[in-house]
Symmetry: C2
Subunit: 134 residues, 2 copies
């Protein structure tokens, strides 16, 4: 084990070699999104100073912003007490973290009692078609 990998080995990677990651806006503390990283993604994140996740659907590294331009500058990386969840404090380029064109992915709010429902409460800042069309 080299010094370069010791901090990576400190993490309890799950059975798929992944760890859940919460991205939080450094200035407002807003929770922007949730994703996953493998060892390579986290190592690349530290190296670049920008968030690199593991896309479980596409099964490849996902440098957040590579298509949208909405990169995440990473200011701080935290690990929880059980060493199995990572928290990033980031600056969100474009103020848009969500692929729907919203600031945060958590735009659906539960309203009502046990028979309530989810309501979209946050606005779309930019049409996704304008974000992803080259």
């Amino acid at each position: 084990m080299t010094a370069k990998t010791r901090w990576l080995n400190h993490i309890k990677w799950d059975e798929h070699g992944l760890v859940p990651v919460i991205a939080q806006e450094a200035t407002t503390n807003d929770v922007l999104m949730f994703a996953w990283m493998n060892r390579e993604a986290l190592a690349r994140t530290v190296e670049l100073g920008q968030a690199v996740y593991w896309s479980r659907s596409r099964k490849k590294l996902w440098h957040k912003g590579e298509e949208s331009g909405h990169f995440q500058q990473v200011h701080e990386i935290r690990l929880d007490c059980d060493e199995d969840v990572v928290l990033l404090k980031v600056t969100q380029v474009g103020d848009i973290a969500c692929h729907t064109g919203r600031h945060s992915c958590f735009f659906q709010k539960f309203e009502g009692d046990e028979s309530g429902d989810w309501v979209e409460v946050d606005p779309v800042i930019k049409d996704p078609e304008a974000i992803y069309k080259k």
Copy 2:
């Protein structure tokens, strides 16, 4: 499908019937902890207005605070764009969310470059022995 369960069916539960949950302090927006819920845990959370998680290690419902007294009053429940992550906005009773006696579970900060390491940066507010000893 009854109205009572429609909002629960809106969530994409994973292969274990669980969803990841982020607990965030309502006033400061601090991320306090990360845990999991099954359908029953989320239904109980809505019913009680307090966070009830699913303990994967103990394989049972875990009413946060049942042993420590550090309950979480739930003010808001959010769902992400993919409908597979839940965010709670809570008031943390006792200001301590972590079983180590700290405010937040995310008290280990990565310091340095690629050969850096994790450093404990947040204080223990209360000795866990004093929290859990009856």
